[in-house]
Amino acid sequence: MTETFSSRRYMRDLKLPFCPGCGLFSLSDAFLKAVYELGNENLDKFCFASGIGCSSWIPSPYFLADSVHTLHGRSIPVATSIKLVRPNLNVVVFGGDGDIVGIGLGHFIHAARRNTDILVIMGNNMVYGMTGGQVAPTTPFKTRTTTTPYGSFEHPLDAAKLAVAAGAAYSARWTTAHPTELKESIKKALQLQGFRFIEAVTQCPTAYGRRAGFKDIGETLRYFKENAVPAEKAEKMNDEELEKKIVVGEFVNRKRPTLVETVYSVLEEAKKSGEQD
């Protein structure tokens, strides 16, 4: 491909639904740029699954591809079976933090445990954006949201580290202030096997930023940049030092037998035993 990158070549001719300044424009772009740089003329080799929430609208129906827009939190089980019955497809899940590690958390953990051959990209805006900015499992401690007018009184979940503990083959976190690193991470993950998880911390000026005390998008992005701590450095820091920081980078990149490999080896075995009947 000699021509320059344009996300439009991979998209339906529809107006995107995101608010001005939304970080999901950058996330969508980073993904499509990764796809482009890997030499894909189109998205024919991909299938997308997503749930409910703004991030879930990235592929559905905007990507010119097969996309299955599932229920809130249920993209991962649907993606799991699509990959199992169509193992040649590159199955990618897009979802928000509420979708993937709120209502859908059980599926996330089990997909990582199974090493299900899917890439899950989570746009983490730290809030339930589509429904008006309610507190999420990812909302930083003491943050004001529409359902925590006195500041949130719960501790946020570290999804990227949870993925490691549950058995993911690859887990990384970047922010929309790190578009190149994010794109490179997606490129890398697209070429790996097994359960791959990328968390993209993203700004939501409409439902999060203005209540959480960010003046504008520029300030949010500066905050992301200034408070990002590389994973290697974070290992040497204590909880107090990491308070309000965003740990970025790769948390794991390892090989384990994947679900497709193990399921299809069972099929081979069963056919042998079936023939003896």
Partner: protein
């Protein structure tokens, strides 16, 4: 051994269901352990891989039905099996399946509820849940077998209807029918009708919202199909505000089923012409009715029996036919009165007598049905 050979077998209902699924071409099962449905996944976990099918036990029932939907969009005939509590958890996704027109089969082996109830005991309390379990305006298809033979036959029919109408179909069975072990005859393959979904032609682009059932592509076939359970147009593009698009689409999906009740409804009419008393029943409860009918005849009463093999859509025409003769209709079911409401709605000029029993998996006996027939003396 691939699909089961024609011949005579001695199977439980659950085994017959599992073998029928393989025979009709089901090649994906996802489920979660629950009594009294477990023999279906246990059997399929061994048998599906032998026929290149995939079996997977998911982390819960919500994941199971989700995986079934994904497999169906991947091009496979797919199914799950559960009981009341799991069926409750699946309801949201069943609505998703209706809205996205995803063929699949959900087996609900009914047990005593509500709540955890009596997990291993027989009941017929999920009748209305099978019709109205998910939110919004939808139409359901549910079938009710009453023998091991019918567990086989109606499992095949459930898949056929799912594929033909592109919608989830519920095999609404019960603990007794699932666990009873009986002789069953598997017919030769060429005698079985097996329906596969209509596939699109290369140039097709409209895959949704047709009263005549739109063709269904699979993911990975380069149709760029956009699947969503948000209100969408024929091309799968969301329209979350437009009332006209919603009315057109949901109207078509309901008409797709509502306009074909003649094809969907199956009943067994037993001595319904010239009867004085009518009986309506289904599933395991219906097994006691025949004996009661004979006993009533010995007492000089003419009793007609309509056995529902299709529960939803409700066999209205067939019940009207029964009500034409029968001035009194007894509705026997092991719940506190669910199908009886439908009979009352349809046969409003007859006296409708509910016969209910719940708990402990106790069935309604022929004697109890006979007593109900004789109650109030002979009615002419």
């Amino acid at each position: 051994m691939r699909t089961v050979k024609a011949g005579t077998y001695f199977w439980s209902g659950n085994e017959a269901c599992a073998e029928a699924a393989i025979t009709v071409g089901c090649r994906f099962f996802a489920g979660y352990p629950i009594s009294p449905a477990n023999e279906i996944p246990e059997h399929l976990s061994e048998r599906l891989p032998q026929v290149d099918g995939i079996f997977i036990q998911m982390e819960d029932e919500i994941a199971s039905i989700g995986a079934v939907m994904g497999a169906s969009w991947g091009g496979r005939k797919a199914m799950t099996a559960t009981s009341g509590p799991g069926f409750s958890l699946m309801q949201e996704t069943i609505g998703w399946g209706f809205m996205t027109e995803t063929p699949c089969v959900i087996v609900d082996v009914q047990r005593v509820g509500p709540g955890t109830g009596q997990a291993t005991k027989c009941a017929q309390g999920d009748i209305m849940q099978a019709r109205w379990g998910t939110h919004g305006d939808y139409a359901a298809i549910a079938l009710s077998p009453n023998s091991v033979q019918e567990m086989f036959e109606l499992t095949i029919r459930a898949f056929n209807l799912a594929e033909k109408y592109r919608t989830p179909v519920i095999l609404l069975t019960d603990e007794t029918t699932a666990h009873v072990r009986e002789q069953i005859t598997v017919p030769p393959r060429e005698e079985l009708e097996i329906i596969d979904r209509k596939k699109p032609k290369t140039q097709d682009k409209a895959f949704f919202g047709s009263e005549n059932v739109a063709p269904m592509p699979s993911v990975g076939e380069n149709f760029n199909v956009a699947v969503t359970a948000s209100t969408h147009d024929e091309y799968g593009v969301r329209f979350t505000q437009d009332p006209a698009v919603h009315r057109r689409m949901v109207g078509a999906l309901n008409a797709k089923i509502g306009n074909h009740t003649d094809d969907l409804v199956e009943v067994e009419n037993y001595k319904v012409d010239d009867c004085d008393v009518g009986i309506v029943s289904f599933g395991c409860t219906s097994r006691a009715v025949y004996e009661a009918v004979e006993a009533a005849e010995a007492e000089g009463l003419r009793v007609g029996f309509v056995r529902l093999k299709t529960i939803w859509p409700f066999p209205e025409k067939e019940i009207r036919h029964l009500a034409h003769n029968a001035k009194k209709i007894i509705v026997a079911e092991i719940n506190l009165g669910q199908i009886v409401r439908e009979v009352q709605r349809v046969a409003c000029n007859s006296e409708i007598v509910p016969l209910n029993k719940i708990g402990g998996g106790q069935l309604i006996t022929p004697e109890e049905i006979l007593a109900k027939i004789l109650e109030g003396g002979k009615k002419k």
